[in-house]
Symmetry: C2
Subunit: 433 residues, 2 copies
Amino acid sequence: MKPVRLAILGLGTVGGGALKLLQENAAEIKRRTGREIQITHVGTRRPRPDLQLEGIKQSSDLMEIVRQPDVDVVVEVMGGIHPAYEVIMEAIKHGKQVVTANKALLAEHGNELFKAAEDNAVQIAYEAAVAGGIPIIKVIREGLAANHIEWLAGIINGTGNFILTEMREKGRAFDDVLKEAQELGYAEADPTFDVEGIDAAHKLTILASCAFGIPLQFDKVYTEGISKITAQDVKYAEELGFRIKHLGIARRAEKGIELRVHPTLIPAEELIANVNGVKNAVLVQANAVGPTLYYGAGAGAGPTASAVVADVIDIVRDISYTEDGAGTIPQLAFEALTNVPILSREEMTTGYYIRLNAEDQTGVLADVTSILSRSGISIDAIMQQSRLRDLIPIVILTDPIVESKMDEALAQIQALPAIRGEIVRIRLESLDS
Amino acid sequence: MKPVRLAILGLGTVGGGALKLLQENAAEIKRRTGREIQITHVGTRRPRPDLQLEGIKQSSDLMEIVRQPDVDVVVEVMGGIHPAYEVIMEAIKHGKQVVTANKALLAEHGNELFKAAEDNAVQIAYEAAVAGGIPIIKVIREGLAANHIEWLAGIINGTGNFILTEMREKGRAFDDVLKEAQELGYAEADPTFDVEGIDAAHKLTILASCAFGIPLQFDKVYTEGISKITAQDVKYAEELGFRIKHLGIARRAEKGIELRVHPTLIPAEELIANVNGVKNAVLVQANAVGPTLYYGAGAGAGPTASAVVADVIDIVRDISYTEDGAGTIPQLAFEALTNVPILSREEMTTGYYIRLNAEDQTGVLADVTSILSRSGISIDAIMQQSRLRDLIPIVILTDPIVESKMDEALAQIQALPAIRGEIVRIRLESLDS
């Protein structure tokens, strides 16, 4: 099959990220799609010497790019309403598939854009417009399609969540944390879009349409920001067992649908109350599945590019459809499976929790630690517990080590005369990313 | 377009649940697919008088059902290896699409089944086989398709997670909690599959294949159960800042792939460490998006039916494909949008956190509570804080009330002579399902 040809419009954080991701993961993506993806055009005004652009046509005339015959899919990642609107309309008229990350554009003009796409029999894919790398649009449009969705509540602005997290954890004031967020690059110089909830309202508009099957109605979202939240209220909420989060909520009520973005007290033991820093999460309540939650990075080059390129892959799989009934997605995710070796237990690497019971005998700890050290095992923590039935429980946490080494070391420790009973070992994972 | 015709094989918890869901959500599902789904056959030995089976052919001869011309999709929800294997093979040979929730069958015989499906140009869809209602297969096969997945770690057995949660929260012993889980119906009379990790290993086998593009290799999963975990180790882990979870882990290592199911200490502040009770969650680490987490019910009639029917909808959308380039999934999730009214702020209903500052004057609390009561607002909690700059902060939490009532009440309270400064109101959501 011929390659699918892309034009990427905008080479900022997201556009550059998408280009790099398509290049770096090209082999794996081809294993997943069975078809090559070729970037033929980029639309940009500023040169990006840090990017690999060889063989790609560069132009700042976006309207001209989307008319080119060697473009199948237009990826709009420049942001803003104009000229994004006009460029996408032109792309649609020329029968191009469209991928966009532009939440403001969709929330405010999506109804017209989707109508034009329908009239011209093309798709506008927009996973990256909501909650960055979390595939929440796919989950709602497809994964939960059997359900009647009752409500959803999302932390869908990372900047706001970073500010509220800092206020809670460190008792800091709003203005103080906002200034830090600006210095860290989490918040814009004009933070209104983020802290006053406009960005979240854009995303909520899109989520609500997918959940309930209603037109996009950004102007009807009730929107309240977090700038009036005080450290005092954060503290009182905590004392009452709640946390304050800036949520976007869409809910079916008896007389209609509620669309609202506002600071919200939620029970501290809820999983979504424990989503901290710049992370996003969306909790969906649906009638068959009950509550489900989706968590991840809501912004940044990598996460947003992940969503943009997933949309491209969906389109590639879609336009590669054959009517043989076998569907567009490979059964086990990849067109061709590879036979990577599966490691034996002895070859696996993890950290360990070790518990041993020692007689109260001088030198046993020295013996144990020197055996571990000789086997190349680093100790992360040691905790000696209070005596239990004449024996002293000793707990050791180790850094990751290949399991065969641990087998050896534990056999030696088990043989020490001062050790009583069987040594307990439980694996330990830091889950570091 | 003609209806898509289903045969449901097995009318136990999952089969009955799928049938009910297809009937109860029929109108909404049709809005999503634009096409009717008709159950033409059910395969069952036992009558289910509680189900609505009018107009559906019933038989216990499963091999005969899957050969019928009025069947497009076979939904296998009877479980077990035999005769599920033979019946699915027969269905595939007759060109039927297959949906299954059978993790043991796929983990142990999936390679042959997928090969047969490919040879006969049909799909086997299996979202319900892993983590119940969480659309994790879709997320990995499609949502994260742009990524190189590095590892994943999942709580993919609800019974085991319930037991470990009870042990930690109440300091109980394993045997004691297991007995309760059996009484509650969370654990089977023979709990081996759940507590020894075999069920989790089946699911991990499938997840790993989708994440890495490797053949299904259940026999190579290192599997260790939770039956040897003691209350003592749970407590020591907690003291060191960790929780013990029964995880299924698939990880790319230098020399190959690790597939392992075992009790694991993980940092207590990780979101997945806070997934409690019978709930499931899968944490995926991928190179572009970073860590993302997916949480929900891993078992039960409703959640499993949600996944089964989502697979049916995917197939319906797929076989309704037209080559016009518009794709198979409606842009805003539904074929036809509806114009449900969006409520104004005054019409919305939420709970409230109210903070007011009162002069230390007898009777103010009585005045405030009587105003709230007259407006029909129930108080959930009142907390009087220590005096701050000559004023007493009073915090009140209320039950949900329509916002116009709260506006009225707060206007009256604000007018009380003893109230100083502006009353703070923050909305409160219990996020109850």
